[in-house]
Amino acid sequence: MKAVPISFCLNGHPVSTSIDSDLRAIDLLREGFGLTGVKEGCGRGECGACTILLDGRPVNACLLLAAKLDGCEVLTIEGLASADGTLHPLQSAFLEVGAVQCGFCTPGMILAAKSLLDTCPDPSEEEIAYALSGNFCRCTGYSKIIKAVRLAAQEKMR
């Protein structure tokens, strides 16, 4: 028996479904909706690979019960580019700077960075590092990621 009915806005589209009370948001998004850009690294709120935006704020989908999505706006990496496929400035900047190696951390990094740029359009390096402190990258060493976020900020302000 799926006990909890929920409705929310997923990447701009209204959706409704019924779920078990102990289902995690990460499982609903990956398995229920096929949004595999939501990555599972640690499963304990530590690495940030599963970051999604919930009402504009970055949260760990592995710590979030799916029931908590009810009534919220949810953005995953799949919903970031425009409908016609035009990349978001952060996506273009990550490509241009080479801030991606294996790519496992990238969806979470970009969403955490989006939430920063939405509230703070011209962040310093320190502000970027603080905003990304919940996102771990095992490949790049972070400097290119920070550079990409600076570049995206400049592009957005132009």
Partner: protein, 286 residues
């Protein structure tokens, strides 16, 4: 599997909590979700209180500051109404993701000895209002914590408000406060020790100092012996050295996988000096 209930009002939440046998309040769920899923915590029903408007927000009212327990740690960290130590404590918790979901009430009710809002609440004169379907009581923060993960909350009771006295006095003196923490690294780290201090500061002298330390005993604790050393004295090198030594002797650190007893006694002294520097606006006290 537990039932999931989203009450529409605080009154309804309290009623459900009073009626149901094994019902747990759920705030952000950053602590509880994993525990429920791996079976460490058993619940027949989860009561999601995180969206109740009665429990969210920071307000100045009736000579005090009132904080709703479901205010997120991110909002506590950025609230201009709140004293520096509490904002700093909240801003050092976990990561932006944890702070966007986790709440101050969850941090309190979780009652971990290393909870980073707890030592600030102890030195800021925090009081907790606890309510059930049948009544209400208000207690000082110190009286709330019984041990690791143990509080005086009884079945059917919710933490419904956290209050802090307003400390601005007419003579323009303001109670200042500061928080320091050390863990394995900058972000995403559980405190090996944390420390909060508050005091009036004027002409080189601390008055009515309050000092509390977390992760150094089974509950966050005040350190009255050090407060007495600091009271009314000129804050010079000698006094700080004397107070630091006393602090290291007063704490009762546990030795766990995160740090040894000796390390904690040593590092708490450095945190103390940093917190004093931050409170008094000095560069550093060596």
């Amino acid at each position: 599997m537990a039932r999931y209930i989203t009450p529409h009002s605080l009154a309804e939440a309290l009623q459900i909590l009073g009626q149901e046998e094994h019902c747990l309040p759920l705030a952000g769920g950053t602590d509880l979700t994993l525990l429920v899923r791996d079976g460490t915590v058993q619940a027949e029903c989860l009561l999601d209180i995180s969206k109740l408007p009665e429990l969210i927000g920071v307000q100045e009212e009736g000579g005090e500051i009132r904080i709703g327990p479901c205010t997120t740690l991110a909002d506590v960290a950025s609230s201009p109404l709140l004293p520096a130590a509490l904002r700093a404590g909240a801003s050092w918790i976990g990561s932006p993701q944890i702070r966007a979901l986790g709440t101050i009430g969850g941090n309190i009710c979780n009652a971990s000895p290393c909870g980073d809002t707890l030592s600030p609440l102890l030195v800021l004169g925090g009081r907790f209002r606890l309510r059930s379907a049948s009544g209400e009581r208000e207690i000082p923060a110190e009286a709330f914590f019984l041990g690791p993960k143990r509080t005086i909350l009884t079945r059917g009771e919710l933490l419904v408000e956290i209050s802090l006295p307003l400390t601005r006095s007419s003579s323009q003196d303001e109670r200042r406060s500061a928080f320091q923490k050390i863990g394995g690294r900058g972000a995403q780290t559980i405190a090996q020790v944390n420390l909060a201090i508050s005091a009036y500061w004027k002409e080189g002298i601390l008055r009515q100092p309050c000092l509390a330390v977390g992760s150094a005993a089974p509950t966050p604790i005040r350190i009255p012996a050090v407060e007495r050393i600091l009271e009314g004295q000129r804050l010079d090198r000698e006094l700080i050295a004397q107070a630091s030594l006393r602090l290291a002797a007063e704490i009762r650190p546990i030795c766990d996988q995160r740090a040894s007893d000796r390390y904690r006694r040593s590092v708490v002294q450095a945190l103390f000096r940093d917190a004093l520097a931050s409170l008094t606006g000095q560069e550093a006290y060596s």
